[in-house]
Symmetry: C2
Subunit: 297 residues, 2 copies
């Protein structure tokens, strides 16, 4: 069994120039939940002036709650105290946080040096845990950075230790720029496991160089059981040149189910959601499995 | 070190409706050779009425020979006595042959039952070896068939034994329909290694479900060091619904070089060839690395 956290509504939509309405987001959520996704990153509590795509995360959560359906675990991205406050007001139980391992990327993306961002995140983790929230903490560019090149494994291990000490339950090793390779994924995962045996590890992989699924397989072989995905392969990073989307939910679940590993997600239903997204966005998305199912009709 | 056999001029072009001229093929060959490809499947000796894209394989080989350049090993696909005769007349030193593990696919693609096709190929291997040619023999649909579903590992092992007995130097396990998964690749490769320790194993992988590179990585981990690729990710199979291209040469070499494994191929040069192919065909090809290099400019 693996857990695929769908991030379509956050990482997927945040780089689209077309801004989704509350009703559209709610419809995508309904479809993802109906397909069997068990953890959904619903949005982020960030400055709506800076990321207008993420406006209305509160309203979306309230609308989902109003349906009173037993559903997936909701999680949202927060980056600071203000975000934590909004998350707590919404009554959400799980939050994600994230900083970059690359100083250049951190300055561009978060406006502060990586070391400072890490310290700030450790404080935010403690605060969120003290408020009763489950927390996962992400390390962007864990496998390299287009600006800085290789990122030392040792630096990632040191950062991971700080996150664990601060109370994070899960570290999200993120290949923001798609520069990871399967051997690097295996190596870093095994080292984090060795040094932080109590910490859950998840992987956030981008398909920039076509290695998303190969890296996911390598992570699975090393023991990772939680992976981030975006339906259709949406996603990217506005501050990274040439960054491509996340691993498509439908392709990831097909890989696992072909290996006999359960995801709890229905392939046909998730491909129907790819169709909904393609209709709204007016373009074909990069995932493969919708094309395969369409050809089989 | 891994050997990437580029099949752009054969598997790549044979499913394109646009038929490449001799000059265009020669130019693609020059570029592939110049990029450092060390084995090129140059075409096939088949019926030009049935596969017009493969007309003129003799002329192409003569034109390459006329340049008297030290270059890549040339190989070509043959399917019968007539093909072997043409290959011998050309003075080519290496041939590929191929049959399907799926009876339904064999009937559609080769017009005869799989068992009969295998016997015929064994005879052709002996004949070619007797004539001094190096031979690799392929087993299509080794990992499953869209018509018949799963293909038993045991059947592939039995077929492989026959190929080895007939004198094949290399067995090409082919995932014609893109139905392989990384664990299946690993399992089959290890079994063939165990039973046929003297036989070289190569993998021919299609990216239909996005698993081309993941399967290639799994094969590499199991010990395979020869892989088929097509520049840009061209290729397919006219007799398989929804089949997609081969693993792109440029993405495969990027995966290996990011893992510190040499291929001898120049990424920039091979991406320039992707550009040449895209210009001729008038569409974007599925490989990732040209897009990455273009974004880095």
């Amino acid at each position: 069994m693996v857990l695929l956290e769908d991030e379509t509504l956050r990482d997927g939509l945040q780089v689209e120039s077309r801004i989704f309405s509350l009703d559209e987001k709610l419809e995508i959520f309904r479809q993802l939940a109906g397909a069997g996704i068990s953890r959904i990153q619903i949005g982020s509590f960030v400055n709506p002036k800076r990321v207008p795509q993420m406006t209305g995360t509160e309203e979306l959560i309230h609308a989902i709650r109003a349906q009173k359906a037993n559903g997936p675990l909701l999680t949202a991205l927060i980056l600071n105290d203000k975000g934590l406050e909004r998350a707590l007001l919404c009554g959400i139980e799980h939050v994600s946080m994230s900083v970059s391992m690359s100083n250049t990327h951190s300055l561009k993306n978060a406006g502060k040096p990586a070391a400072e961002a890490l310290l700030d995140m450790a404080a935010l983790i403690s605060q969120a845990r003290g408020s009763g929230l489950a927390v996962r903490a992400g390390l962007q560019c864990s496998f390299g950075c287009v600006y800085e090149g290789a990122i030392a494994e040792e630096a990632v291990l040191t950062a991971t230790e700080k996150l664990a000490e601060a109370g994070a339950l899960e570290v999200n090793l993120s290949d923001t720029t798609g520069m990871a390779n399967p051997l690097a994924v295996e190596s870093l995962v095994r080292q984090v496991q060795r040094e932080q045996s109590g910490l859950e590890i998840s992987l956030h992989l981008h398909d920039t160089r076509g290695l998303g699924l190969a890296n996911m397989f390598a992570g699975y072989q090393a023991g990772v059981r939680t992976f981030d995905v975006c339906t259709g392969g949406l996603g990217g990073c506005p501050f990274v040149r040439g960054a491509a989307g996340n691993v498509p939910t439908e392709d990831a679940l097909q890989m696992f189910s072909s290996m006999g590993v359960e995801t709890g997600i229905d392939l046909k239903k998730i491909c129907a959601t790819v169709g909904t997204l393609e209709n709204i966005l007016g373009r074909k998305l990069p995932g493969h499995m919708k094309t395969v199912l369409d050809a089989e009709r």
